[in-house]
Symmetry: C2
Subunit: 361 residues, 2 copies
């Protein structure tokens, strides 16, 4: 079944309102979630509501919290999300970084005591919309990635996103986890009973796990092996993906004074409040270039990539952001598909929250 993004936003807003999110934060939070669904990043949009409900019930999420600026200077700021939703804190942080970059050329805002904030790329793309370059990183709760040479998981999938404005092309938008694949991708292979490519998930001896069901059990147990860092194996330079995961950890958590999710005690199964950190950097290209020159040069680079001779003529060379833009176009036109299983879950969430269920035919 397919729904318009307007209807989905209304549904998400109804749930958030029933949970007690301050009314002025509801619109932003709902929009960020549904934008992930529009972009085709189904794992980070509306489908997170049941997870948020579980956190809420366990006392790990303070829905009534309002993000506040804990300290700031002309270029930097630290935001305390107060243990509430990551989305409104992150929008506030990126907008503050962009305001500062507008005045000073660069703005850098860190967030601590936050939660899951959805798709990292959303916040980077806010920068490109305002003709700025944006770099966003976040730590996370679930420890599932094993360091190169390691038999134990130590890091979350720690994503980073980078956006830059172009002229006649759509903005450049890279949004990636620092593991080879996200947990969700393994889950999809498990649903379909497909064997995993070598190097997505490794066991405690460093050998690839090919059975997707076994792989999901290994990831959930969180004791031995886990997702491989980008690169896959030591031979394929997984130390680079591992290093990037640590870089994201340092920028997001160490700089903001957020928790070390790498600590086993803070794993996804913990009931305590999360302490996730985020990092938002905004750069004004006009600090370095004449107006429009950056965008023109980026157009040239994007055009050159698109004009690359493809290996398979049916599969043209893409630029980061192309798949999300194609999904957005299609889903704005035809609606966002929502699987029946998720609809059933959402109906339950609505009932327990006392919110109206709006996703009938």
């Amino acid at each position: 079944m397919k729904f318009s993004s307007a209807r989905l936003t209304e549904q998400v807003a109804a749930v958030l309102t029933a949970w007690g999110l301050p009314p002025d934060l509801v619109g932003t939070t709902a929009e960020v979630m549904v934008e992930a669904d529009l972009a085709g990043i189904d794992s980070h949009g509306m489908s997170m509501l049941p997870t948020y409900e579980t956190l809420l019930r366990r006392g790990g999420l303070d829905v009534t919290a309002r993000p506040t600026v804990a300290q700031q200077g002309p270029v930097t700021a630290l935001i305390d999300a107060g243990g509430g939703f990551g989305h409104p804190a992150a929008v506030m942080a990126m907008e503050l970084a962009l305001d500062k970059a507008g005045c000073m050329g660069v703005g850098l805002v860190c967030v601590r005591r936050s939660h899951h904030f959805g798709a990292t790329g959303y916040y980077a793309s806010l920068a490109a919309q305002r003709c700025m370059v944006g770099l966003v990183t976040t730590s996370a709760r679930t420890v599932c990635v094993s360091p190169t040479r390691g038999a134990q998981p130590r890091l979350p999938t720690n994503p980073l996103a980078f956006a830059a404005p172009a002229g006649r092309n759509r903005p450049f938008l890279l949004d990636m986890s620092t593991s080879t694949v996200a947990i969700n991708k393994v889950k999809v292979y498990d649903y379909h009973g497909r064997p995993l490519p070598d190097g997505w998930v490794l066991d405690g001896s460093g050998a690839p796990i090919r059975d997707a069901q076994l792989a999901m059990r290994c990831i959930r147990a969180g004791e031995r092996g886990g997702l491989a860092p980008l690169g896959g194996t030591a031979e394929m330079a997984s130390h680079k993906g591992y290093g990037l995961g640590l870089m994201v950890q340092i920028l997001s958590a160490t700089l903001a004074g957020a928790g070390l999710a790498a600590s086993p005690a803070a794993s996804g199964e913990s009931d305590g409040p999360a302490d996730i950190g985020h990092f938002f950097l905004a750069i004004d290209p006009q600090s370095f270039r004449d107006k429009g020159a950056f965008e023109a040069d980026l157009d040239e680079a994007i055009d050159l990539m698109h004009a690359t001779l493809p290996i398979d003529p049916e599969l043209p060379v893409l630029v980061p952001g192309d798949p999300e833009a194609a999904s957005r176009e299609e889903r704005r036109r035809d609606g966002v598909p929502v699987p029946t299983a998720l609809l059933r879950q959402l109906r339950g969430v609505c009932e327990r929250a006392g919110a109206p269920y709006l996703l009938h035919d």
Copy 2:
């Protein structure tokens, strides 16, 4: 044969002086080069002198150039390297970024009209030495990496480096190219006649090239196939490595107004002056944390990584920067090994430059 770093620095300085590098830039440039050799990054240190000589002879490198600040504000600056060596321009840029970060919390300096600057990690580590976080990226001349799905090389190996200060541990230092491996690693396999792992180098049909000699020929021709981005294959998420390569290109070249090395005309074989761009970001953790808190938290993260149960007890889990630090300790103690073939080349460089040759027994 092994030499002390002092002797090597003297030798490099003698060559640079004979070439006509302004005397006050000789010490810095020689030190940056020999520091790469100490750190075990042999491909980016002294062994570059013959390549620089070729550039020089072809008129592609203006040794007499002096980097100048083209424009600046309280947080940002743009440096024009004037077509000279990248090393002194890069040291000037990172130090300026660190000065600005000391005042404003963040400093961002871009460099255009520059050249090869050696090992990217050197400049990031300058930040950690001053208790700051540093992020450094650079574009490059040689187009050798094929985009995911692409049959043609379009990008250089575009490296990035990230450093952060710890307390009782040595600084965190990630220094990586955004391809799976550097050209030099393929060259070493070629020397030894060893077959390449699948996914280091791909041909124009996307199939792995296993014969290292064939792989080097493919990379040098620069027409079809090339080095794979980090990830290796599309299935192993090489679109992430490709995306990171483009991110580095945008930060280093597009932001600074440097050339698009991705353009085939600007490939390594071109005789014209290079127009390489660099990016130097410095962040003062004390904009967000109390003095020492960042370093203490990073110590905790580093200790946790080092304490990870290893797959093989003989190969403990490392943190980025460990291999370089181990090399530095060993080579400071025992000297830097220089292969006979390189010594012979260096003797030729000295003779042609009219510089004394100092690397006798």
